[in-house]
Point group: C2
Chain length 120, copies 2
DNA sequence: TGAATAGTTGAGCAGTTGTTCAACTATTGA
DNA sequence: TCAATAGTTGAACAACTGCTCAACTATTCA
């Protein structure tokens, strides 16, 4: 293994140099894992994932979601802002009312995969 | 809609009773969303998701992972304990060395789905 | 048996997160 | 044009998370 690819050793002797080096080559740059974690963090809250699951069924306004989730409109709005900025939901305004819906089918797939894991 | 299914109203007039009630019937019990969020929370950290992605390639010991992730063995061990208790990874001991690997193909699927969303 | 090494654990700390409250903007309709 | 209502925003706070440190256990081997 070339010097520029060598990883810093730890304090032990057990390290499997060849395997570690091979695996390291298949890993993504650090930034990719930060982005992935940031994406999956959006599903890592019960309120938010319930909100997304509700939007799987039908587009809903802020008030509808507040009722369904049992939290204030403010809390819903804060979460929707996060989700909108991350391109997980999209919105359309009709007069005073803003309707939210899923922006992307990956949301459904990730949630379904999660439930599948839990239910088997 | 029957009284026992009626949801508490919010302070607005816009609520779409019929849609909200219909969506509410399709939702899971609160506990399911807590479980789902707890599962997906395990993927919501850059160190942990990189660790899982490394284990996709090959089984690795604590020390290997510490080197790959650039953190202490203690940090890795704490994370592995979480992941093991959640049945995302499994371990086998060989002498002094404990080898970790993925317990379940859903890990791979969730990570792949996440990367797919990010890369499109 | 005892030194060396791989791994685990608990305490404690710094940084992050989700909520509410209060004040704000946007749109409607009388 | 002004009151009513849907939604947004920023500040503040309590709860949670991931890390390191230090001390511990488990296993090997001389």
């Amino acid at each position: 293994m070339a010097d520029e690819e060598r990883l810093e050793l730890c304090d032990c002797e057990c390290i499997h140099d060849d395997v570690v080096c091979a695996v390291n080559k298949t890993l993504q740059p650090a930034r990719e894992y930060e982005n992935l974690a940031a994406l999956l963090k959006l599903f890592a809250d019960a309120t938010r994932v319930k909100l997304l699951h509700a939007l799987e069924q039908h587009e809903l306004c802020v008030c509808d979601l507040a009722v369904l989730l049992g939290v204030t409109k403010s809390a819903v709005s804060h979460q929707l802002k996060l989700l909108r900025m991350s391109n997980l939901v999209k919105s359309r305004r009709e007069g005073q009312i803003v309707y939210y819906s899923l922006a992307d089918d990956h949301v459904r797939q990730i949630i379904d995969m999660g439930f599948e894991h839990l239910w088997e």
